[in-house]
């Protein structure tokens, strides 16, 4: 059973064993507006917790995405190259960004639960 965690910077990560799938939250995609391009990380590169790993370009602006955990990128969502708008349509589903092999599961304890995140954006 996959578990979902959130960052204060509006990324989510669904974790099963030591594999995570990362994307941006519905709140973030709504705030950004129409997304027209996503710069995804290359497979095989190393991600560091809290460091920029991807960029989302909306009509309004470019926004950096920070990796919620450290690890190795296994796969990027290639569908976003041709249809970046699926991040707006289904941010926590089909609009995922990348899959990561998590190097240290302890890092997850620093992330927020869904309930904590909802509180965070509701402030």
């Amino acid at each position: 059973m996959a578990e979902i965690y959130f960052t204060k910077d509006h990324e989510w990560i669904k974790v099963e064993d030591n594999i995570g799938v990362v994307g941006i939250t519905a709140y973030a995609s709504e705030q950004l507006g129409d997304i027209v391009f996503v710069e995804l990380p290359e497979e095989g590169i190393t991600a560091e917790i809290g460091k920029d790993i991807a960029v989302v370009e909306s009509v309004k602006a470019a926004s950096e995405v920070y990796s919620p955990v450290s690890g190795t990128i296994i796969k990027s969502n290639e569908d976003l190259n041709s249809t970046p708008e699926i991040v707006n349509e289904d941010p926590v589903g089909k609009g995922w960004f990348y899959e990561i092999e998590i190097s240290n599961n302890d890092e997850l304890s620093g992330l927020m639960s869904e309930e904590e995140y909802q509180k965070h954006i509701g402030d």
Binding site: D9, H10, E11, I24, Y27, A28, Q31, L32, G33, D34, V36, F37, E39, V55, V56, E57, V59, K60, A61, A62, S63, E64, V65, Y66, N81, I121, G122, D123
Partner: protein, 394 residues
Amino acid sequence: MTEEGSWKQLFCHGDHMSEAYWGLEQNLKTTPLYKVHNDNRAKLVPFAGYYLPIQYENGIIAEHNHTRNSVSIFDVSHMGQIKISGPMIYDAMEKILPISFSKIAPGQIKYTQFLNNEGKIIDDLMICRTFEEDHVWLVVNADCTPKDLDHLYNNLNKTYKIELIEDRALIALQGPNSSNILKTFFQEIDDMPFMTADWFNYNNEKFFISRCGYTGEDGFEISIKDRYAEKFINELLQCEGVKLAGLGARNSLRMEAGLCLYGNDISSSVSPIEAGLKWSIPKERIENGGFIGHEPIKKDLENGVERKLVGIKPLGKLPAREGTQIFDKNEKTIGEITSGGYSPSLQTPIAMGYINSDILKSECEVLLNVRGNLIPAEITSLPFVEHKYFRGNK
């Protein structure tokens, strides 16, 4: 996730923030259409000291496309409306602006710039020679209004009255259907050519209507008393096909139309010749002078300028924003992007920026340094999307 670039403030000022909070905290002004924006679920952001809609529910792309295909309303009440009156007003204004009133008919509007002594742009503006001979009517950029007023006070003697019109909203109605909509209120506007203006009456209110805009489409800018603005907008919104559009769409529309944005593409370090605005200065003014900034402008024309504003099309899908460095094929910096983003009409990224003039003679392919990625791009002429102004029934 955090945002870069000039729209930095947009992300953190989401609509979950209480409206009053930002209004009070940042001393932001609201326009007379504040309630309309809220009623229509605008995403309001701080812009030029005002609380303005960046977009409404449908989003920037939908609002942009609706403007190109039908008709949209933009609240541009933040812009400065200035009335200047006094004796021999045209002579006085010609000493400040590079325009020729002898070539401007009553009721005509001209696009022009306030220039400093170095021939650089203090602000760009629209000036109307109204049918009354004792005054002119200006519309200037919101951010520049205070320095424009200073400039006017410093260069007009005390016999001239300079009034900042603070009790009138300004609404832009833009798009191919704008005339069909507006003529249901004012029958006469149908024949008004682009860049003309006049006063109209409706329900005992006086409307100052200009056929102009900043989207590249046919359209109007409507100046009405604050107290009447909300009622009139709601009447317009009752008309078939009329929708609201925000600052986001206004920006992508003007970029496609290749129109300069003050603070981005033009500023007090740019001359109108560099910015490709030579067309706005009549020949006889360049020859005869007599306006602030004439000497350096004349020199710019005689000697040529070192950089020029061009259109840039990044190849591929990655948008290149303002501040992006432009490289030649040897990765030497040859310019910088001043406006850049996504074109909903062309469905590709577009940009405007300055490039060294000598490069322009030979190369039309360049590289853009977007976060370390070198993106090939083409230099093109402006506009990206053809203007569709109404030039009159000839």
